[in-house]
């Protein structure tokens, strides 16, 4: 008997949100009624989200893609012999030759969407566990040196060199150290952490175990936002499978030598800030703490702690697998390796683009993204999440790396790019930035706690047409104060979207009352 035909239907939350489960059911039913033997694999997402649910069929030439598939398309797809790679209007040919995918440099996301996320054998067959194997043969200092040499910087937003952080933690003498993965991914327009955790969770776990070896930690936490129930369930299963396989080592009593816990957040954006996250992990209010001491010296429960973003730790797995030099070869200037850019908002081809640093914003938004989904023209993008700048179309030639963006008054953050069409009202967007800060401020310092409320009120007056000259001046002064005097980047960067909106789109702050 011929082997069952492998058909891939993603189990990623984005794919599920547009009906992937229903499509998988329909394929199963239809195959049964036609007596065709198939094997449905629930993979992660390839990141071409506009094509979700993206169904792939394994053929002798490679995997062939069809999307977006609705349950109602399934009978027709079988008629067209899609299970043999047959032609159909939803067909895109070989998945890996779709230009959006082919033009990427997939390092961290190399396995995402390719394998069943909970299949350890497939993980290993696709290069998994090699990084850990290499790390186990090295001493601590050499692991840290690999990470340092790779040039890897934190992908959570601040871009701090990972090797330096690890070296500090490794040098501490302590009876207990912790590895904490920041999976709070609160920025609007970002979903890369989620995609990796749902599509290749072992890659993250492997990175955490390597970190534990590098600094001598025996305990780890993943702090996951509660808005990600799918990721939670995948991670829980992945941790159990990993530990059952003995991949975290074993103590004499059989318990894993690196004990990894999953902890859920509770709907607070500020808990993505590392000191707030550590407070939250201790079961407290997520109030930001004054630094120093830095977590690498005194973090969770007062012990040396590594806090790294999901993508930072996942990149470590790739770095230890292929060596620092391979990773460092990608990128430009002081931004080495690849960045997972996330195209969101009003975009025709939204999704995840992993590319070496240095790609321009225009290549991402218009090249990969194909302009807007609605067909309207683009007015601006917000890069780097709710604390990031609005960039006008005239600034789209900017190269996407930490330094170049900073020079142009913007930031990369966690790599989110949100596209707005020409119907956007930038005064409203500025007001929202202040409102978001008001809702999510931890309340510790006055410039942020009071400033955000005052900023929102001032923008209300501007929008209502009250004393605009004076109020714009007040707004500007307030922004400067928040930038200079806030304790953390929540209050400190909220002025970035506000002031960039005023700077690039002044006309929106002078609209006749009631006209938008």
């Amino acid at each position: 008997m011929a082997d069952a035909i492998k058909i891939f239907v993603p189990c990623d939350a984005a794919a599920l949100s547009v009906g992937a489960d229903e499509v998988a059911d329909a394929i199963f039913q239809e195959a049964q009624s036609r007596n065709i033997e198939i094997d449905i694999v629930r993979n992660g997402s390839r990141g071409m989200l506009w094509l979700e649910p993206l169904v792939e069929v394994q053929t002798s030439k490679g995997r062939v893609a069809y999307g977006p598939v609705a349950p109602g398309d399934v009978a027709e797809l079988f008629e067209a012999k899609f299970h043999e790679g047959g032609k159909h209007t939803l067909g895109y040919g070989l998945t890996e030759q779709i230009p959006y995918f082919a033009k990427q440099e997939r390092l961290t996301f190399a396995r995402c969407g390719v394998i069943d996320p909970l299949d350890l054998k497939a993980y290993e067959a696709h290069g998994g566990l090699k990084g850990l194997g290499n790390a186990l043969k090295m001493n601590r200092a050499d692991i840290v040196a690999q990470v340092t040499e790779s040039g890897l910087r934190g992908r959570g937003g601040a871009g701090f060199p990972t090797g330096i952080k690890w070296k500090t933690a490794a040098e501490q003498n302590a009876d207990q150290k912790y590895i904490c993965c920041n999976a709070d991914e609160g920025d609007s327009g970002t979903f890369a952490d989620r995609m990796l955790m749902e599509g290749d969770p072992f890659c993250l776990i492997e990175g955490m175990v390597i970190a534990a070896l590098a600094v001598g930690a025996s305990e780890g936490y993943i702090y996951l936002r509660s808005e990600y129930p799918h990721a939670a369930s995948t991670l829980r299963k992945a941790i159990a499978l990993w530990e059952e396989a003995g991949l975290s080592g074993r103590n004499e009593d059989g318990s894993p030598r690196f004990n990894l816990h999953l902890r859920m957040g509770a709907g607070a954006y500020i808990c993505g800030e590392e000191s707030s996250m550590l407070e939250s992990l201790e079961g407290k209010r997520g109030q930001v703490k004054v630094k120093p001491p830095i977590p690498a010296i005194s973090g969770l429960f007062g012990k040396p702690t590594i806090v790294n973003n999901v993508l930072t730790l996942a990149a470590v797995t790739d770095i230890l697998t292929k060596g620092a030099a391979h990773y460092k070869n990608f990128g430009m200037g002081r931004s080495r390796g690849t960045q997972a850019f996330q195209l969101a908002g009003d975009i025709a081809r939204g999704g995840l683009v992993e590319k070496a640093f240095g790609v321009t914003l225009d290549e991402l938004v218009n090249g990969f993204g194909g302009g807007t989904h609605t067909g309207k023209s683009i007015r601006t993008v917000q890069a780097g999440g709710p604390l990031g700048a609005y960039i006008p179309v005239s600034g789209f030639d900017v190269a996407m790396d930490y330094e170049t963006l900073a020079q142009s008054g913007a930031m990369l953050g966690h790599g989110g790019i949100v596209v707005f069409n020409d119907s956007v009202d930038m005064a409203r967007q500025a007001r929202f930035a202040m409102e978001f800060c008001e809702i999510e401020s931890c309340g510790k310092c006055t410039p942020c706690r009071i400033g955000a409320t005052r900023g929102k009120e001032t923008l209300d007056k501007i929008i209502a047409g009250e004393d605009r000259v004076d109020n714009l001046q007040i707004l500007d002064d307030l922004c400067d104060l928040m930038t200079d005097a806030s304790l953390c980047a929540m209050g400190g960067l909220t002025p970035m979207p506000v002031q960039s909106a005023v700077k690039h789109f002044p006309e929106d702050f002078w609209r006749a009352k009631g006209v938008s």
């Binding site: 949100s17 979700e52 970002t190 709907g267 908002g345 917000q382």
Partner: protein, 161 residues
């Protein structure tokens, strides 16, 4: 809260604490699990948890009020959460929310008079390329439209309680 009454007890919450070895650092998990079982966090539950973990009632209140997920009031039977963050704003989440408020005759953050549906705002569901995003009774939905929302609301309204 009726903190003056000292003999409040909630067996379910006590059990949850025990399952977490009465560890204070597990407080968020304990609150999540208790709320999942009860729908909200009652006075009885909070007092029981505070005693079990040996933390002050003031502290537990501080935590419960800090995080948006925790509820002190009984929720509606069904929850509609609409993403109101930037990427969804860019594809019409504000108009969608206004539509929902009108349809349900409630403001965001409230529940319908018959206690059937609660409407709330959420800031990013990680589905920003397929917005507007919504979560209905824990199910993530992408590319939401007013028409689809109407159909889903009608289903919830008709669902047996």
């Amino acid at each position: 809260m009726t903190a003056l009454i000292n003999n409040l007890h909630h067996e379910g919450a006590r059990e949850v604490c025990r399952a977490h070895n009465d560890r204070p650092d597990a407080l968020l998990e304990i609150l999540h699990e208790t709320q999942k079982a009860d729908g909200h966090l009652s006075d009885e539950a909070l007092v029981t948890i505070a005693d079990a973990l040996n933390i002050s009632r003031a502290d537990i209140h501080g935590v419960v009020s800090f995080y948006h997920d925790y509820r002190r009031e009984e929720p509606a039977q069904h929850q509609i959460q609409l993403c109101r963050a930037e990427a969804c704003q860019a594809v019409g989440s504000e108009a969608l929310a206004a539509h929902a408020e009108k349809k349900l005759d409630v403001a965001t953050g409230e529940k319908t008079a018959d206690n059937k549906i609660g409407l709330s705002a959420v800031y990013c569901l990680g589905n920003c390329a397929l917005g507007p995003a919504a979560m209905i009774d824990g199910k993530l939905i992408g590319r939401m439209t007013p028409e689809r929302l109407d159909v889903l609301i009608a289903k919830l309204m008709g669902a047996p309680s």
